[in-house]
């Protein structure tokens, strides 16, 4: 039995040794396996974007095997009867073939489109998390900038992608894009002619968009995503304040085994949700739109949701045309402001925000601990303002659908959008600010007086008072003031002594823990002797 020279049991060790002798990976690999990641649900939002990007790459490669980027005119003769005999471009015909003549092609197309929508949605949600918790502060400004660039590059990826089928709806979008380029002062017509090789639509735009969509933009995205993740790795993840957590450490789980397994599982979940969306929810039924013809349009023409805010801003823009009476006279069309200037301002504001805030607060220190939104009311208010602005624009981008389905006058919707865009953001700022202050105050009250117990006691003189359970050893007056640590203050009796819910279970409580040695609540984290500081590690008023 022991004859064979190859010892299976020793093989991994031998291989490992052989590899390390050549590449010296043992130390860096151990460091990687041991890297600690903090655990919080909101830290998983960015992963949704990352994983949908992977799905996009997988499904996108499949689609390129069947898609033909050409505007050559053909007569359709595929399976879809209601379009048979219709003249159309090769691009549109091949997209119809993917939908009706390639086995399983339709679900791939739909998964690709849903993954794109999810990619953008996850980017936005992730960005909101980063913004509202202050995770963009020094030293992470670069990653914030890369993140906002990812949104805009994703925006371009989406736009070039949904233009590829050359269907009626996307062609209309392309027409508008050409008008936007035309509206740029001085160079507009030259830019448009360069992109379309002459007048709209020309014959080459689809193949140019194709190479941009499958090579240039994904390449840029991959590069940006790599740097983004590399920086997260290098700078280590931010964490919430809490027991034992300081600005100088990371408290969490090591990458292996648990964290990596969770990530792998989550990837599968994201993939699965995209598959379900792609199979069960019809998206972009191009066969109903028909081929793009410059004279055909449908009521309620909208771009995909992440472009809709620009469509909305265009709809709300008044007809302010600027005439420049020099020479033959020149024009700046109203289209220029909401579609070129506004995105320009948004890019500038979003990328510069970390620096503006640091300057305003005169805070140039490094921050690795997150802030609860309530603790920075002005930033939370600004965020609410931006979100409101964006939502009003996005809703205005669909204002004809809303007008039709809720039987509101279209013109009234436009006016509501115009007024709402001016009034609602400041209102959102004010309301959010007040809510933040209220929440802060309540936290301080609980820290000072204790948790409401729900026990009403009648005093000898007839008054009724509620009994409060102090959070710390009370002083003589029954008051024990605790410092606010920047983290959740327990406000219910059953939360005392636990960071997580005292009643375990996600959807239903598991009342009786069985057998397993359960530690009630948070594991006891003993700080090392040299670290005295417990709490946020930051000074707060």
């Amino acid at each position: 039995m022991k004859r064979r020279k190859f010892d299976i049991a020793a093989a991994p060790a031998n291989t490992g040794r052989a590899v390390d002798e050549r590449f010296q990976v043992a130390t860096p690999l151990r460091r990687l396996l041991n890297k600690v990641f903090p655990d919080h649900w909101s830290f998983l939002l960015g992963e949704i974007a990352l994983f949908s990007f992977i799905v996009l790459l997988l499904t996108g490669v499949f689609l390129t095997f069947f898609y033909e980027p050409a505007l050559t005119e053909v007569i359709y003769n595929g399976s879809y009867a209601p379009l048979r005999g219709t003249p159309m471009s090769v691009a549109y015909a091949s997209t119809l073939d993917i939908s009706f003549d390639v086995r399983g092609g339709l679900i791939m197309r739909q998964m690709h489109h849903w993954a794109a929508l999810l990619f953008m949605a996850a980017i936005v949600v992730h960005m909101l998390r980063v913004f509202f918790t202050g995770a963009f502060r020094k030293p992470r400004e670069t990653n914030w900038i890369i993140g906002s660039l990812l949104f805009w590059v994703g925006f371009l990826a989406g736009f070039t992608g949904y233009s590829l089928p050359d269907d009626g709806l996307s062609g209309t979008g392309l027409r508008i894009a050409s008008a936007i380029m035309l509206s740029i002062p001085v160079i507009g017509s030259w830019v448009t002619a360069a992109v379309f090789n002459g007048e709209f639509p020309g014959t080459i735009i689809i193949s140019r968009f194709f190479i941009a969509h499958v090579l240039l933009i994904p390449g840029l995205l991959i590069a940006l995503i790599s740097v983004h993740l590399g920086l997260v790795f290098k700078q280590k993840h931010t964490q919430w304040p809490g027991p034992g957590r300081t600005n100088a450490n990371v408290v969490g789980e090591r990458m292996f085994p648990r964290y990596a397994i969770k990530q792998g599982g989550f990837f599968m979940v994201v993939f699965g949700v995209i598959a379900l969306l792609g199979g069960l929810f019809q998206i972009n039924p191009i066969w109903l739109f028909g081929p793009y013809e410059a004279w055909v349009v449908s009521a309620a023409s909208q771009p995909d949701w992440y472009v809709m805010f620009l469509d909305g801003s265009t709809r709300l823009m008044p007809d302010w045309q600027i005439d420049i009476p020099i020479g033959d006279g020149y024009v700046i069309p109203p289209l220029f402001w909401p579609t070129v200037v506004l995105p320009g301002i948004l890019v500038g504001l979003s990328t510069l925000y970390p620096f503006l805030e640091a300057r305003y607060l005169k805070d140039y220190r490094s921050h690795n601990l997150l802030q609860r939104p309530r603790d920075v009311p002005f930033r939370t208010g600004l965020g609410a303002m931006a979100v409101t602005f964006y939502v009003v624009l996005t809703l205005s981008g669909a204002n004809d659908v809303i007008a039709d389905k809720f039987q509101i006058s279209l013109n009234a919707m436009t006016w509501a959008g115009r007024i709402g865009l001016l009034i609602l953001p400041p209102l959102a700022y004010y309301v959010t600010y007040r809510i933040c202050l209220g929440l802060q105050q309540h936290d301080r009250e609980v820290l000072a007086h204790g948790v409401e117990t729900g026990i009403i006691r009648r005093l000898p003189d007839g008054r009724f008072v509620e009994v409060h359970q102090p959070l710390s050893a009370a002083d003589g007056n029954g008051h024990g003031e605790l410092d606010y640590a920047g983290w959740v203050v327990p406000k219910k009796m059953n939360r005392l002594g636990a960071l997580g819910p005292a009643i375990r279970g996600f959807f239903y409580p598991i009342e009786k823990p069985v057998e397993a040695p359960v530690s009630p609540g948070h594991p006891p984290v003993e700080p090392r002797a040299e670290r005295e500081e417990i709490g946020s590690g930051e000074t707060r008023s």
Partner: protein
């Protein structure tokens, strides 16, 4: 004065657009028709300007039309006036609108109108099929006008591919690529085609109800109308969605955007809550 003009131009239009068999000979007759039209127009104008003269009551009505007049005098006379001459500020004249118009308005329940609105909305119909026919016969005999051909199925030999092209060029701008309808200016709207029958679609094209443009038989031939109806009824309404159980109302990107947040993001946030949860 506008109601006068309504009446006159309606008359002229119906005469031109009457669905008689088209032939090369008819084109040559264009001038003659125009002459006749002018004469009728003058007659119509006279009728309008002299409302007291009730010369039109004289021709005897057929049986169905007489029944229709009885119904008319009960349900429609308030707004459309005696002999359907219209009432200023309440309802237009029905002289010359034709049976097609009656068919559309009454069979979709838009008439009789409950109250004056920006646009009459579809309601459960008040009259039975026979009563609608009688009303249509009455209005037809009053002043002529376009008539919907007989039969319930008007798209039997329609070609969906041709119909689709015609639909996209003539209809989709208002009724949307899905036939779901869309908004027009200031509270007006193009209704959904979902509940529309063959006859109603045909009648709408012929008569141009409310703000819908008229698509007379010279512009879109009866065969082409059959193609369009075939596309609407078969491809838009009867064909299932190959892309999933849920078509999100076929509103396009707006509901898709709602879905990605309400379904995709919500599901995945719940998943993250569970993954990072302490339990």
């Amino acid at each position: 004065m506008t109601s006068d003009n309504d009446r006159r131009r309606g008359l002229l239009a119906r005469l031109r657009g009457r669905p008689v068999a088209r032939s090369r000979g008819r084109r040559r007759l264009g001038a003659a028709v125009r002459l006749v039209a002018a004469l009728m127009l003058a007659g119509g104008a006279y009728t309008v300007l002299a409302p007291g003269a009730s010369a039109q009551e004289n021709p005897p009505l057929s049986g169905a039309a007489a029944e229709g007049k009885a119904l008319f005098d009960v349900s429609c006379v308030t707004c459309h006036g005696r002999n359907a001459q219209g009432v200023e500020g309440r309802g237009p004249s029905l002289i010359g609108v034709g049976a097609a118009s009656v068919e559309f308005q009454v069979s979709t329940g838009r008439m009789p109108m409950a109250r004056q609105e920006a646009q009459a909305a579809r309601k459960p119909e008040v009259f039975t099929r026979d009563e609608i026919d009688q009303l249509a016969a009455y209005v037809q005999e009053l002043g002529g006008g376009p008539v919907v051909p007989a039969g319930e199925n008007l798209h039997a030999d329609g070609n969906v591919a041709i119909g689709g092209e015609l639909y996209r060029i003539n209809c989709s701008q208002c009724h949307a690529f899905s036939g779901g309808g869309g908004a027009l200016s200031s509270g007006k709207y193009a209704p959904s085609l979902a509940p529309a029958t063959d006859r109603q679609i045909y009648a709408a094209m012929l008569s141009g109800p409310q703000n819908m443009p008229v698509f007379g038989d010279n512009q879109i031939t009866p065969e082409q109308k059959a193609d369009i109806i075939a596309y609407i009824q078969q491809s838009l309404k009867h064909d299932g969605d190959p892309g999933g159980f849920f078509n999100l109302g076929r509103y396009g990107p707006s509901t898709e955007g709602v879905a990605i947040f309400l379904v995709g993001i919500v599901a995945l946030v719940f998943a993250s809550l569970w993954i990072a949860g302490k339990s």
